[in-house]
Symmetry: C2
Subunit: 440 residues, 2 copies
């Protein structure tokens, strides 16, 4: 057996503590798989006195994680501090600068600085591994980087945020509002006190930017992701989705389009019969469309200490076994420049829920504006509220009522223009709800 | 760039031809991913004159694949001949003996000779890679061998044969018989002229034996798989499954049980809401239960030239990048001996469809025999045929009618003993149908 592989773990939160325990627990299997003894030799965290239930005997403690990163006692640094700047970035840069391998679960860091860090790793001849950063315990980074090299990928999309999927699942199954489900998610520890990062789609966007780069061989472009969260989804939208044969999921979608690669995060209507529609609760899923395999879907846990540690430990074993493979599947010099496609040019089906004044001719007026922009309608559903109906059985109550349209493929630019025209006609009692449809 | 990586492809059927094309088509990506130029330098097949639409200019043709395997012109041999003995085995043994890496899609060869071949590869210091052998285009071998090293796995199960899933899907959705669906599957090329290998579960058993070894680190034990196919499934069973909240799938299941590892292939009732129940048609799926990730499911194509070639090419890239990792995730000397658990000791829920004489007291007699063996019943469904009811409205027609039982967890030995007692009581008009239930 060659010499042992020594790990420095920076950050001993839930994931860090799970990694330390897992490396010890799986020592025999890890050495059988890699041919090397793998052990944690150094750790660093903010609070040395906190009881984490860890046996740290024989492990060197560093108050400053950057000192750990530069220590001669470690071959690889496991960064589990989090955040795109500050200590996490300093630790990873210091480790790469000192010629040490890096394993990280940090999606924000990767999404914003992945290309520069991959370049630094390349120059140092060390690995930069980040399986845990994209979909927690799902081995999607390995699948994209190594498992599908024979394929040209046309689209990758998925449920990448468990908090949002939990909220949407409960809204659908129990008919609750977004606000009520968010409160429960917070009480259960599925959502942060400030939930913006999760529910407004930014967490999904970071993960998507990483998957895009792996799938298409392009430079990371987190700023190029169009992002829309789930806070505007109403119980009525979930009801309408069910009636129309869909479910609503917050998806991250990256796909080849005319002129570049679309990267978008938004609530999405997916066919109820699709694999991705079956994914409920905090579970994550990723589907890949590729020329050789057709469709491949991976479903599993997107978060949690043990599941994230599982991905981190798989990376550790890969790095210990060697050799150093390019972080994003190809040398940074061979990554294509990112080429954004603006959302205005996105083409797809749309669910549009208008709140119109209950007057004769409104549906006709809406349909005319759609037709002017060459938008074909697959279906129109008009629902009169019972109250409105009781006030005027002839349908001229003037009360606000929902009017739901499902379109065939249309460009977002045309959809927006038609909605502007409808609003200018004075037909709308409220701002329209617009949810994109994603087909298998 | 280091020297190029030269492939000899033995077998130019659908998969072989797809591999030759894919290696050429993806040359740039493969060299970026691995740091080496990868090219096919030699091929062998039975019929040199057949037009495969391949450009074989500059590629050496071998009439004898064993000569190809020993040729100084190749670094790795891609075995796509098939079959557990004969030419395929000779080629792989010759290649390993000559110190060449082997990539194969051959599940029968692996299931029967995997341990010996892995040992030969180890002794030669070369790779034995077989991603395509377990679930076609689904990267399940990589996931088990590299992606889940931090996990203790308790169960792996899946839909591993597209022919069977196609037949069961059509039987369910269209109410057809097994025989009618098999005929269609044959016409569409999803089933062989002699379908025994697929429909009686042997193909699934080979794949399961490979997954078992990867998941549990045990020696391959294809002979230890309990195998039952789908040919006895009746349309009535699919109807009853729907009413009871299940679907019927042919599953391969390997799980840790008291005293060893159960390996079993049989038609299975799975909850309709489970991920695996959503998998329809020729698609395959594998679910892994593990301590850290919980549940992980991969869904994708289990067969087809391009999908299988995708897995073969991923293996080729891994082998080209190096280093040699143990074929089954650990050195053969560290694989645990296989430890079989007989089906009589299997414990689980059962669907039992009896065909009983329509007489008073039959249900009570059946329930008594079950109770004697400490088998608890979750539900009993008795269906009287309309004809029987029209003959005797008091329920004593004496006609054969179905009586369906769902049991709570019981051992197979007790279930079989209770059924023997029921048969001995003269209550049965036909042999009983027994389908095991698998819960998430």
């Amino acid at each position: 057996m060659t010499q042992s592989f020594r790990l420095g773990v920076a950050g001993l939160g839930t994931v860090g503590a799970a990694v330390v325990r897992m490396v010890a627990r799986r020592a025999a299997t890890l050495s059988a798989a890699t041919g090397r003894e793998i052990r944690v030799t150094a750790v660093s965290s903010r609070d040395r006195d906190r009881d984490r239930g860890l046996d740290l005997a024989g492990i060197t403690w560093f108050d400053d994680p950057v000192d750990l990163a530069r220590s001669g006692e470690v071959d690889a640094v496991v960064e589990l501090i989090g955040g795109s700047e500050g200590a996490a970035k300093a630790v990873v840069e210091a480790a790469l600068g000192a010629g040490k391998h890096v394993v990280t679960a940090n999606k924000a860091l990767l999404a914003h600085h992945g290309a520069a860090l991959a370049r630094a790793a390349e120059e140092a001849g060390v690995a930069l591994a980040f399986e845990a950063s994209a979909a927690g315990g799902i081995p999607i980074v390995k699948a994209l980087r190594e498992g599908l090299t024979g394929n040209a990928i046309s689209r990758v999309y998925g449920i990448l945020n468990g908090t949002c999927n939990y909220i949407l699942t409960r809204m659908e199954l129990e008919g609750l509002t977004f606000e009520a489900c968010l409160k429960d998610a917070q009480a259960l520890g599925y959502a942060e006190a400030d939930p913006t990062f999760d529910v407004e789609g930014f967490d999904t966007a970071h993960k998507l930017a990483i998957l895009t780069s792996l799938a298409f061989g392009t430079a990371l472009d987190a700023e190029g992701v169009s992002v829309e969260g789930i806070s505007a989804i109403q119980p009525l939208d979930l009801t309408m989705a069910r009636e129309l044969g869909y479910r609503i999921k917050l998806l991250g979608v990256a796909q080849i389009a005319a002129g570049g690669i679309e990267q978008r995060v938004h609530p999405t209507m997916v066919p109820r019969s699709s694999s991705i529609a079956q994914v409920m609760g905090v579970t994550n899923a990723v589907t890949i469309d590729a020329d050789a395999v057709g469709e491949l879907t991976l479903i599993g846990p997107g978060a949690g200490g043990e599941a994230t540690a599982s991905a981190v430990v798989a990376d550790i074993a890969d790095v210990a076994a060697g050799p150093v493979r390019p972080a994003f599947g190809r040398p940074t010099g061979r990554m294509q420049p990112a080429s954004r496609v603006e959302m205005q040019r996105h083409e797809g089906g749309y669910y549009i829920r208008l709140t119109v004044h209950d007057r004769p001719g409104v549906a006709a007026g809406v349909a005319t504006r759609m037709a002017e922009r060459e938008i074909s309608l697959e279906s129109i559903l008009q629902r009169r509220s019972e109250m409105a109906a009781s006030q005027d059985p002839h349908g001229r109550s003037g009360q606000p009522v929902p009017l739901v349209l499902i379109t065939y493929a249309a460009t977002e630019g045309n959809i927006r223009a038609a909605l502007d025209a409808i609003a200018a006609d004075g037909l709308l009692a409220e701002a329209p709800q617009l949810i994109r449809i994603e087909r298998e």
